[in-house]
Subunit: 370 residues, 2 copies
């Protein structure tokens, strides 16, 4: 599809940000995606020196895929509907698949750091994690970030004093979580590798390659003002936030997040759902701002802080669930189960703390259609 | 010892509150003590109808004993030193011994309520406690407050729906805590009964009976201004508060209280000590105010709130320790241990919440020598 140029003297579009800007944004993100893909192919699966680059490349791939997908959603009426409907789920599949390994890795890191904090250990965080995870990284997955000097060698072995900072329960809980989450991460790694070699992936990559030069705008899109669609995204966000229990969240220590912490319900935290939803809507809102500002969006600190709080909310929620799940492992020692209970409650309080942080940040923020 | 009367025209004492006021306060508290003792003897150990009165009487005994003991401490230079040094430890022994049963009872109540809250149960609190505790109160101790309609009869049996609100782990944890704390409470009850029948107790009661008519002031006490001693008590309080980590406490969700939650140290919470100390100093300060105002001390809401926060701090700290202690019971099921871990962490967060509440109340409060 050829790019259409506007007459800047057209009063209907003078000063307005139009579909042209959307096309430019999508082309730029598609180019980023292709660059990340090239880098990933050059570094993926090879020596340890390239592992960090491979992680960066996978992150950049996800980053662009998320932005393209979000723009397809927010500005749907301006894009060829068949193409959009075909492309968006594929991008979501890709960023989901590529993100899982990292999610398991950071979940394990979060839980091991919490176990050390709860044990009153004063170790350097990276070392604490390296220590607890040492010994099981003989076959370090490509996208693992190895802590310096801790790549499975004897430098990573804990000293007796360091071991002494963990109770038997905390140490066993850490080992159990490590086994379970490392297994999950390894599986996610294989799945991601398979995905990147699949014909499904090649089809997505081809679509994005086309997007880098030709954006399938509708005929009227180049002269259509983007603001109403961006405003609608902002409105969906504010509506969702208005439905959150923000008054409660603004009262510290409201003890809401741990209610149902011992519930017999297998998925006891439906209360997290609306917050996860706001996290996604906030991201859509932020990306819409990027489209309108042509990549020069001014940094909105409260919005950024609010988004970080919701990321933390999601991470803590999933870490708490992983601790609860590990506690259901058959035949564990009571001391292990006790440590996992403390850990679960600790992460649920992190959930509550993140809601408080979101509430505080949001007070400073007024959503304006960008 | 004869009461000495002041010349109100003496410029040294005009307008000042002197040892006379201390004597009046001690006489009044001693009278309260004797009245409570008489009531306790009339109601103690008898039928269930008198149980509530017996509880009230024991509480009133402790209330007066605390106030007399505190005044002996704060205004020590105005009282016969031999008599003070002999009397004060005996009053402390008495209020400590009488308080233990109530402490175990309310600790169990706190923990069972928390278990129900953590299970997402929406039961009426009194019933929740009555339910969990039903069946083990066949020999209800005299000072047990029975929930209406729940005194071990079938009305107190939980319905299936109510049982369903607890997981196996939570239910077993509740039963374990109930066994342990009921045993401790029963022992405390026996100890209190023995104490009340002991010659040691009769000696204290005799001392208090004398105090009701004759306060052993030093010769100069009746003309001595009480303010400097009360101010010194206030200063000890402010000094102790200044040493508390109030900046941290004022940041919600600082996660300080649960640090060492999994520490191998058998007494992992020395951080609670300074707060317990402030709780005692705050009480001394409050009672000194009562002495100076002759029982007409105006209600100082922030001070009262601060004191309540420290009571809650102490209760949650001890409840958390009881949960951790129960988790060390041999051969418990992992699900029980898990529930106790969640419960321990929950109570440690209550500790943190109480510190936050204290910090908030204290900001509104300026200590003046009363």
């Amino acid at each position: 599809m050829a790019q259409q140029h506007l007459d800047p003297t057209d009063p209907a579009t003078a000063g307005a940000v139009t579909g042209q800007a959307l096309a430019a944004y999508l082309r730029a993100q598609a180019t980023q995606f292709l660059r990340a893909l090239r880098l990933h192919r050059e570094t993926g699966g090879s020596s340890a020196g390239d592992a960090a680059e491979s992680v960066d490349a996978a992150r950049a791939l996800r980053r662009s895929a998320r932005r393209i997908s979000a723009s397809l959603h927010t500005f749907r009426p301006l894009l060829d509907p068949d193409w959009s409907e075909e492309t968006r789920p594929e991008l979501a599949w890709l960023s989901g698949t590529l993100g899982l390994e990292h999610a398991y890795e950071s979940r394990l890191e979060r839980l091991l750091l919490a176990l050390h904090r709860l044990s009153g250990a004063t170790m350097f965080p990276a070392r604490a994690v390296g220590m607890a995870a040492a010994g099981s990284r003989a076959t370090a997955p490509v996208t693992m970030k190895a802590a310096p000097g801790n790549a499975g060698g004897p430098a990573g072995s804990p000293t007796t004093a360091e071991r002494g900072t963990l109770t038997v329960g905390a140490a066993k809980a850490g080992a159990l979580l490590e086994r379970q989450l490392t297994l999950a991460r390894t599986r996610a790694h294989s799945t991601a590798l398979q995905a990147l070699g699949s014909s499904r992936f090649h089809a997505v990559a081809d679509k994005v390659a086309v997007l880098a030069s030709e954006v399938p705008l509708t005929p009227s899109a180049p002269t259509t003002d983007l603001s109403p669609l961006a405003a609608a995204a902002a409105e969906r966000l504010t509506d969702a936030i208005a439905a959150l229990p923000l008054v409660t969240a603004g009262h510290p220590y409201n003890a809401e997040a741990l209610v149902h912490g011992l519930s017999p319900d297998p998925s006891p935290h439906p209360q997290d759902g609306p917050w996860h939803q706001v996290r996604l809507l906030l991201r859509l809102h932020r990306y819409a701002g990027e489209v309108l500002c042509g990549g020069n969006a001014p940094v909105n600190v409260p919005l950024l802080t609010a988004g970080q709080a919701l990321n933390r909310h999601r991470d803590a929620s999933e870490a708490a669930a992983a601790a609860a799940q590990a506690a259901r492992t058959p035949r564990i020692a009571p001391a292990t189960a006790y440590a996992l209970g403390v850990l679960h409650a600790d992460q649920r309080h992190e959930v509550e703390a993140a809601r408080f942080a979101f509430q505080q940040a949001w007070r400073k923020q007024t959503v304006n259609a960008p």
